[in-house]
Symmetry: C2
Amino acid sequence: MSLDTQSVGRRINELLVLSSVREEAKHGYQIALDVEEETGGAFELQHGTLYPILHRLEKEGLIEGEWTEEGRRRKEYRLTDAGRRRVGEEAGSLSSAFDRLLDILEEVRRVGVRPRPAEG
Amino acid sequence: MSLDTQSVGRRINELLVLSSVREEAKHGYQIALDVEEETGGAFELQHGTLYPILHRLEKEGLIEGEWTEEGRRRKEYRLTDAGRRRVGEEAGSLSSAFDRLLDILEEVRRVGVRPRPAEG
DNA sequence: GCCGATATATAGATTATCGACATATAGACC
DNA sequence: GGTCTATATGTCGATAATCTATATATCGGC
């Protein structure tokens, strides 16, 4: 039930990628642009990070890539059924973890920034 | 403005520690127990992770540790003024990033788990 | 022709976590 | 007295994923 903080960054990135190709097939470069836009710049996928992730997810069978035969050299990725299941599971477990975290962050922001917390 | 996913785990852990000693001084073991409880088990601090973090934060001047002279061998940590400032800043920047992320997660959970998304 | 944007890919350095190992005391139970 | 578990702190080696930089190639505008 606990969210391993060693892997939390990886899980966020992978979910952002999977989520991004959930509705339509996309190539990597487009995924990076969309993720940055969709998160309001809060999360970015550097391309040295993105492409290894795509290869990893494809090897795991969560996405399927296909090279386009026409125009620019692109590899279009679509979500597999396994990927769709994974997105649902991950969205659930990450949601509950980050909900808890945001509760704490909001508590901190509401009461915890005063120079000295009512000492004496 | 963007949240480096390489450091997101570290930043979460550090904020959980800083936040935990925000109201009262605590020793490491207690911090680990409290964090696990406060997050409903969503986040855990392994002690091989916790103690290096405490040493790091102390070296950065964000917390101050003091060995107890009586009873069990404990090191009590309290938040410094610099630590208090840091908590406020971090709570702000992590909040906005995770708010964005939760929006996406909720969107995924609401519409995105159907086996095939209205094809044809 | 040149340059920036598009597009993918890999390699090396960095860095923090994790699990294992180590040490020591307090208190409970027999 | 002896044993066991919980408390309490600490370090070390292996692991793993990101990041920055480098590489290659095409397209369109000027």
